[in-house]
Symmetry: C2
Subunit: 391 residues, 2 copies
């Protein structure tokens, strides 16, 4: 098997542009820290700010690659923890890496598995040691052990375009003292991961932690940047119970210490309002399961706030989910039909709303780019929020 | 609400060809009763023999209309019983009829609800009277009453292109005496339905019953044909426990009494072997939930028989579900990836296999048409079965 992995990765590096990602800052908005730029990847160049749809198990739930492209998706995200368990990194390497496995010819970012270890571990019991984390599989309860080296080794095999360092994701309730020790360990883990990283086509990002504490964020950012990663993410803002206020603080306290010429990634954030606030604070890329998860429950983003298609008032509503939306769903189907699909448990319902919700967030980032170019992002935020939060 | 119905149906009849379907027999195969022909519908002309995918609740499970068109689907089938319960015929009429409701610009056949009443009624308890059938909803147990008139009234509102007469669907175990009385009633029901049918764009088919009894089939066919329907279906072959032998007898005993210039429809049949046998016996159109149902359980039709993608042997299999298949799934994805989707419960798995399975059955009918044109359908059957049933 290891022969196949090596062989496939080598083959692949000849078939595509062999490079790590390159961020290019094109403009900073006049009144804020919002940035317009591009990320050059192995699979094309994409503008930022950008929203990355999440394909946990090598599939953005229910959608085809064509639907993702039609929604103007750029980078998509996949989860190392889930792919480690099923089908396993060796199977994916045998199939030529994650791109070939899932037939996606766009860029892919894989997370480190860290967040899932802390959020999905069976009964959330885990034993964190300096070496790594012992925990039980959420599928069958088997004992698992994930280390910084193991996480990177898996991601190397998955052959994603961007890998993430393995970090601890402490809950919002963690004490200052706990967070301080946790940051130190996460930095040591980042070093260990970087030391074993061994895929010439794959960028590696460091992760800044530190809760809502200014000094901890500064320390974490500075020490992580010293390790010279290809990009940086701000973690610990969407773990477990963080307030919006703490999220904005975490961004504000981290951004000043991150280099201008590297991508900044706010992990796990996908509420429209938070994307706008993140962009204004200098974040470039976002990911979240929200658009697909709420879709499966019948909810849709609209300019006038979130709506729930289960609501009886849509029973005979011939209008699209959102007037004027350019997505496939809104161009072809009525609320009445989608409500019927959702209330009768038909899969097409979640699929159609996923298409709309993903397109909604991507469209939002497209508009934010325009607002940055036009130096009117604060006005954009005001107008957006007035309408979105009206009801 | 009734104003809306009327208004929408009137509108629609101006927007499309206002006609009932027209069958055109082009060739009968030299050695068998197999027929090649066309059906002209309100939404285009299609060649027969034809397989009709089933969209029970106004959706062919998980698929988009574009995927159905890409699989070369012609007529699709939708279930009157399910749509009667949810969202209700008035909602669909308000939305401009079933085509507009589900955004399908191809022809639609609706069944009568008869089969569902007999197979889905809660606890399968039902009270059959001359007037109609009393039974309980499979969703919430509420008391329901379906009559021949009600079935046609619902189908008129749904505005499908082909409506079916309301019939009794007795089980295979029914006695000769029971069947005889049942046929008489079904003929009376057919008359009553025809008397109230009132949609100028909708064809109405009669249904031949009679189990595997030669005299009953003859009687049922002759009496039904006397009522002069736009097409005829052979029912009671896929209800509950019928053997293949009985199915073939039912066809053989019915076909001689059906007019040459009308479509012949074998209800609920979708096993490849049975489609071939049906075509050879003179059947034109087929429907079945099989291709989408087995897809959701990980099964796929191939030339070499049915395969189950849950099987561990496909874990690293880079080949498509079926070599040489022209469907979207086979052109884009490996067995290894689809197995991963199926075993991890990802919706895309069932969707991809549904696309393949529907295309498989449609491709089969395309090949049967060629075999009829070439007068070699018996050879085609021999070659198909040798390979399909080898393992």
């Amino acid at each position: 098997m290891s022969f196949f992995c090596f062989f496939d990765i080598m083959n692949k590096s000849q078939g595509r542009d062999s490079m790590k990602i390159k961020y290019n800052l094109l403009k900073t908005e006049k009144n804020t820290k919002a940035r317009f730029g591009t990320i050059k990847t192995n699979y094309g160049t994409y503008e930022t700010p950008m929203f990355m749809p999440v394909g946990t198990k090598a599939t953005v739930k229910s959608l085809s690659k064509e639907e993702l492209k039609a929604a103007h998706a750029g980078i998509i995200l996949s989860n190392t923890y889930h792919l480690w368990l099923r089908p396993g990194p060796d199977v994916i390497a045998h199939c030529g890496g994650l791109h070939k496995f899932m037939s996606w010819d766009g860029p892919i970012l894989t997370d480190s598995g860290g967040f899932q270890v802390f959020s999905l571990a069976k009964n959330k019991k885990k034993d964190i040691t300096e070496e790594g984390v012992h925990f039980k599989s959420h599928i069958d309860g088997q004992n698992l052990f994930l280390t910084p080296e193991k996480s990177i080794e898996i991601q190397n095999k998955l052959d994603s375009d961007i890998a993430m360092s393995f970090d601890e994701c402490p809950p919002a309730s963690a004490s200052y003292e706990y967070l301080k020790n946790s940051i130190e360990r996460t930095i040591r883990w980042a070093k260990r991961g970087k030391a074993v990283h061994n895929n010439p086509n794959q960028a590696l990002f460091g992760i800044v932690q530190g809760g809502a504490h200014e000094d901890l964020r500064k320390y974490s950012a500075e020490e992580t940047v010293k390790l010279d990663f290809d990009g940086y993410s701000i973690g610990g803002v969407a773990n477990d119970g963080e307030s919006k206020e703490d999220m904005y603080k975490a961004i504000d306290y981290s951004i000043p210490y991150l280099p201008e010429n590297k991508v900044r990634y706010l992990m796990g954030v996908g509420e429209p309002v938070d994307i706008i606030e993140g962009v204004i604070r200098g974040v470039d890329i976002f990911d979240c399961v929200l658009p697909t998860r709420i879709a499966r429950h019948g909810q849709a983003f609209t300019r006038d706030g979130k709506i729930n298609l289960n609501n009886a008032k849509y029973k005979e509503d011939l209008s699209p989910v959102e007037e004027g939306c350019d997505c496939y769903t809104c161009r072809n189907y009525s609320k009445a039909y989608i409500r019927h699909l959702i209330t009768t448990g038909e899969m097409l319902g979640g699929r159609l709303l996923s298409i709309h919700n993903i397109r909604f967030l991507i469209k939002l980032t497209e508009e934010l780019r325009e607002a940055i170019k036009n130096d009117n992002i604060l006005e954009y935020r005001k107008n957006f929020l007035e309408r979105y939060e009206k009801k």
